[in-house]
């Protein structure tokens, strides 16, 4: 199923990238404001998209607003290019914009992602677009929007640490493993979207522009290239990322985020890189993991 690129099938009934030009301008203005205030949630007039809320409408609107005919788009969902949603979104842009799409991180100019950051370090000429369900990191502690806006405005972030304190008190360690809150440029506390905390360090000083779109909540925020992004923690409970005690079963990588897959009904399982493109490239380069090594021998 994986091919490096597929030929565009542009449908001229649609305006380029589905949204009308004025909408795209409105979204780009919001994006510019977001870049100017790193980590700050900019409200925008989220449009109806041909899919329900909760399926990436925010990310898609951001992508639609910045997409140009020369762009090459990659869409991943939990690191994989071949899930239903990733495929649907890719097809959507092929049809409404006629742009080239790809599964290779290195070849993409725009990467729209749900819940993972690619393993391959990104470049200055790339843009990473995150799909965000709940943009407000304080939402579960403080339900009032009026209050969270004030807290952000006044930089009153004690509440965020209350959540982390609770985790340590109840679990002995900070139990948040995804959507782990970060502070951007020493100012705004931001939700990195439900990416695993494993990916948080990648956000720090990333050469690529990072854009975040929440369609249902109608917010856009951004982290400009080379911006400081620090994960919240305590002095005596510093931030740590997940680690596995075994490599990827397919490519042997020891430093990637691994998915656990159940293989049979006798407890058999395998661990493979969540980032499918990354795994594939390593295999192509000759790397092997325990399972592929066994098969070869």
């Amino acid at each position: 199923m994986s091919t490096a690129a597929e030929a565009p099938k542009y449908d001229p009934a649609y305006n380029f990238a589905f949204l009308d030009e004025q909408t795209k301008r409105m979204i780009r203005r919001a994006i510019l404001k977001a870049i100017a205030i790193p980590g700050y949630q900019v409200p925008f007039a989220s449009r109806e998209m041909p899919m329900p809320y909760g399926w990436g409408t925010g990310g898609m609107q951001v992508t639609a607003a910045i997409l140009g005919p020369e762009d090459r788009l990659k869409v991943i969902d939990q690191g994989a290019d071949d899930t239903t949603n990733a495929v649907s979104i890719r097809n959507f842009f092929r049809r409404t914009a006629g742009v080239e799409t790809t599964e290779r991180t290195a070849d993409a100019t725009i990467i729209q992602t749900r819940h993972r950051i690619p393993e391959l370090p990104l470049r200055e000429d790339q843009i990473l677009v995150y799909q965000v369900p709940i943009p407000e990191p304080l939402r579960f502690l403080e339900p009032r929007e009026t209050e969270t806006r004030t807290l952000h405005a006044l930089k009153e972030y004690g509440l965020m640490h209350v959540k982390l304190y609770e985790d340590i008190a109840i679990h002995g360690h900070i139990a948040t493993t995804y959507a782990y809150p970060v502070q951007v440029s020493g100012r705004y506390i931001t939700d990195p979207s439900p990416t695993p905390k494993f990916d948080n360090p990648k956000m720090n000083h990333m050469p690529a522009l990072q854009l975040f779109g929440a369609g249902r909540e109608k917010r856009i925020y951004a982290i400009p290239p080379y911006t400081e992004v620090a994960s919240l923690d305590f002095e005596d409970h510093p931030f740590t990322i997940q680690a596995w005690d075994r490599p990827c079963d397919i490519c042997g990588a020891e430093d990637t985020f691994l998915d656990e897959m159940v293989t049979d009904d006798q407890g058999g399982r395998m661990f493979i890189c969540s980032d499918s493109d990354h795994c594939e490239r390593r295999r192509t380069a000759g790397h092997t993991g325990p399972m592929t090594r066994d098969a070869a021998e």
Partner: protein, 262 residues
């Protein structure tokens, strides 16, 4: 008349009025509070005492008049001329507020320890161990079993919740604490314990307190001074024992004579 040298009033209200359309909340209120003093604002329902407290604590903007506060090491300043950021910072650091209903002053869905630690974290304390020891220390001070540090206030009784609220408010050692009927919703037997905790902490920490209550017994136990409010105005202002033993104003006499002798 002597005045103690080198100390100034901590809080001052002048000509303070709040109207809701044609309705009087409070009218032409004036008094001073000095460091280490406990002032009770006493009155019946509708007397305007809660409106007055809310104006003093910066929660509602008065129609006219001035509330001034002297920050640590500074001069008297009109709190409503401060920026919202500064006023909120004041409310988090030098001021405290104890609500009548403890649920209004607590986060019911996080643990007791987190409740106490929140003000510390808001001030930038980032050491989990320090926060936890402060929480344990304060639970002891308000006589809550330290085993309950990780329990949520949802599981606490009314008296325990109120004592937790007190700990949460006082952990940053505010200079001035506003209290709105701190024992209002509690059973009589429970009230004694909470009042006693309050009394001890006020003395130990040298707190200045503005206390709103309709209960003269609470005022007698905690307050050095009292003002009596009726229909939004202060009708009498004096030492607690003076107002209780020799009330001058007609309404004060009415109020005092209405106490049932135990």
């Amino acid at each position: 008349m002597t005045s103690t040298p080198n100390t100034n009033a901590l809080l001052r209200a002048s000509g303070l009025s709040k109207f809701y359309g044609g309705q009087v909340g409070c009218f032409d209120v004036a008094f001073e509070l000095w460091p280490g003093e406990v002032l009770a604002i006493v009155g019946e329902s509708g007397s305007g005492k809660t409106t007055l407290l809310n104006c003093l604590a910066g929660h509602i903007i008065p129609t006219s008049g001035v509330v001034e506060y002297r920050r640590h090491g500074e001069i008297m300043r009109n709190i409503f001329k401060m920026t919202e950021a500064e006023r909120r910072s004041l409310q988090r650091t030098e001021w405290g507020l104890v609500h009548q209903n403890p649920a209004d002053g607590l986060r019911m869905t996080v643990s007791a320890g987190a409740n106490i630690g929140e003000r510390l974290m808001a001030l930038g304390v980032r050491h989990y161990g320090d926060i936890r020891s402060a929480a344990l220390e304060w639970l002891e001070r308000v006589e809550i079993d330290t085993e309950r540090i990780d329990c949520r206030p949802e599981t606490f009784s009314g008296g325990m919740r109120q004592r937790l609220q007190i700990a949460r408010t006082l952990v940053t050692r505010p200079r001035l604490v506003f209290m709105d009927e701190p024992t209002g919703g509690l059973d009589v037997s429970v009230q004694a314990r909470v009042l006693d905790t309050l009394r001890g902490l006020v003395t130990d920490l040298g707190l200045s307190v503005v206390l709103v209550t309709h209960d003269l017994g609470v005022a007698r136990l905690l307050a050095d001074r009292m003002v009596v409010m009726k229909d939004g105005q202060i009708v009498e202002d004096g030492l607690t024992d003076q107002i209780l033993e020799d009330p001058q104003h007609a309404y004060s006499q009415l109020l005092v004579s209405a106490i049932l002798s135990a």
